[in-house]
Each structure stands twice: as C-alpha cells, then as structure tokens.
Amino acid sequence: MKLMIDETRCKGCNLCTLVCPYKIFQEGTTPNRRGVVVPVLDRPERCTNCRLQKLYGRVLCGVCQMICPDQAIRWVDEKPYNPEKVVIEY
C-alpha cells in the first residue's frame, strides 16, 4: 500500500506532521497550484500501515487519516511494476 496525500483536499494544516509516530510527514516548503503548502513524505515505506495492512486485513495506526480534518490522506494499492531496462542510443 502506498501513502498519499490528496492535494485537491489538503489545506496545509500540518496536523499529520504533529501526530505521526515515525515522523514520516514533514512540513513542506513550496506552495502547490492551489497555494497550499502540502506536507512532504519522508520515506513513506516506514509507515506500518503501508507495509502490513494487506497482511493483517485492517488499518494499523492510521492516526494521520483519522486526524486529517479534510480526509486528504489515504492508502492506495501499489501497482506491481517490473523494472525495465532502458537502452539509450547516443
């Protein structure tokens, strides 16, 4: 599962930054197109829910999703990807 912030909803309150036990959310620096400074994710693979939700079948921790007043945080399935070899001709 991948952690993602919905930029159409986030209003930049930074409450997620306050509560994450792994300090995955960090305060952003640049405003996006709506003028909102969306938090950035520091190595979101450390999130317990990302790694173990499929295994346990329920949401683990999830405090960020609960505390987000704008329902902007969710986890999405990561599509399996095959690394591809790219050949550059020069």
């Binding site: 309150c13 306050l18 405090v63």
Partner: protein, 262 residues
C-alpha cells in the same frame, strides 16, 4: 465498508477552515458508526446550527439540519416514532449549552436513546468568534474583548448530574480514544454525550495566541489529564495545573431509558 464511504464525495472538500478539529471528530464518529455495522439506510444524523452542525451535509445518510439549539428535540421526534433507526446528533458548545440548554438537560433526564457528539471549540465559530458558555475565564473573543468574565460550563459534569447513561470527554488529539468513546456511546442504550474538545484556529486560536492548528492541538495534549489521575490528584490534595481539564469516560450506568428499540 470503510468510513470514507460514508462521505458524500461530491460535496468534499468541505467548508471547514484549515486545521479545524471538526473534520477530525467527524472522521472518528463515522469510524465508530461504521464499526458498529450500521448502514446508511438505518442511520440518521441530526444537527443544529454552527460549524459542527454542517457535518451531516457531507454524510450520505438521511439527515436533518435543524434550527439553532433544537437538534435534540428533533432527534427525539425521529427516534420515538422509529425506534429502530439509529440517531446520532452533531452539535456544538453554543448550540448545546446556550440556546439548547433546556433541551439538553431534559434529554439527559429522559435518557432518550441518542448519541450526542458535542464539538466543543470554546467559541461560536461559524458566526465569527463570539464567546460561548464554554469559553474559559479570561479568554478573548469578539464579544468578550477584555477577557471573558463569566465562568464556563462543564458540559460533562452537567450531563452526569442530569442523569445521562454515558458521558465521556476527549479531544481531537486523542483520535483513537475518541473513536472508542463514540463507539461506547453508540452501544449504550440511553442518552450518551461525547464531548470532543476541538481546536478552532480561526475563531478561538487567533485571538488567544494559539494561531496554528498544531499549537492548539499541542495545548490540548499538554492540558488533558486522564480522569482517574485527576481524581487521584484531587483526593491527595495536590494542586491541579492551571488550564488543565479531565478527559476520559465519566460515567457509564444503566438508568432507565426511553426510545430504546425492543
């Protein structure tokens, strides 16, 4: 069903300000409602007027957005004529304690089978930041520019004294405990009040040096004292820290209730 499915997706993002605690409390309530196994077809949300009471407009169930302070009697009418429907009331501190005070204490006395989630942000948020009956002593608001000189209500204590079956208070920082408390309230037959202390950075925070959403959430985290510890400190005679308030479940009892489905 995930609690996200209970939202009217076409109505989001909602009108709440940046960092408003109401959004958090709605998340927790819907999580609790979802975990009870209720469906949008048999749940009804009723609310009064205010920021907290705009919540049912964003939820897919049948909902009643009523007049200021009168959410509880509307909910009483709905519950008594269809006791099989699950009725949850969203209200705010002014809506519940000021204009709705009479209905509040009678609902506690009657012990009608409702669950009331009161989002206490110490202010009248939607109308721009006027003082409410829960504004702390000395706090600044637009109608108390020199500091509030009236002592505030303790909503949880009121509900306990008036005879409610389940009373709890948590804050929007303690999301897990709040969800559990709402779930306990939904399960308890009879009147249950869950008072959620929330941050209002725009209405309350800006005038009281808690401008950022995170600042007020940090203030709630630092000043919330667990009820058992509060009691122990009172009994031992220790001085209570200024500005602190007890959180937790205040009462859970089995007084006779009305409107409980048979």
């Amino acid at each position: 069903m995930n609690f996200q499915d209970w939202f009217r997706q076409d109505r989001l993002p909602h009108i709440y300000c940046t960092g408003c605690g109401n959004g958090t409390v709605i998340n927790c309530t819907l999580n609790a409602v979802n975990s009870m196994g209720w469906t949008p077809e048999n749940t009804v949300f009723v609310s009064g007027i205010g920021c907290s009471s705009r919540a049912p407009g964003y939820i897919v169930t049948d909902s009643l957005h009523t007049t200021h302070g009168r959410a509880i009697p509307f909910a009483t009418g709905v519950k008594l004529s269809r006791p099989d429907l699950h009725v949850v009331v969203f209200t705010g501190d002014g809506d519940l304690a000021a204009i709705g005070g009479n209905h509040f204490i009678h609902a506690c006395r009657r012990n009608i089978d409702l669950t009331v989630v009161c989002m206490n942000n110490y202010i009248y948020g939607m109308t721009g930041g006027q003082g409410s009956p829960c504004t702390p002593l000395g706090a600044v608001s637009t109608t108390t520019p020199y500091g509030c000189n009236e002592p505030p209500f303790d909503l949880a204590a009121l509900a306990v004294a008036a005879g409610a079956n389940h009373v709890a208070r948590w804050t929007s920082y303690h999301v897990k405990e709040l969800t559990k408390a709402v779930r306990d309230g939904l399960e308890t037959p009879g009147f249950s009040l869950i008072e959620a202390v929330v941050q209002c950075p725009t209405g309350y925070g800006r005038k009281n040096k808690l401008r950022e959403a995170g600042a007020m959430v940090g203030w709630m985290r630092d000043h919330a004292v667990l009820r058992q510890r509060w009691q122990r400190m009172q009994e031992a005679g220790e001085p209570l820290p200024p500005g602190a308030f007890p959180v937790g479940e205040f009462v859970r009892r089995n007084l006779p209730a009305t409107g409980v489905p048979k």
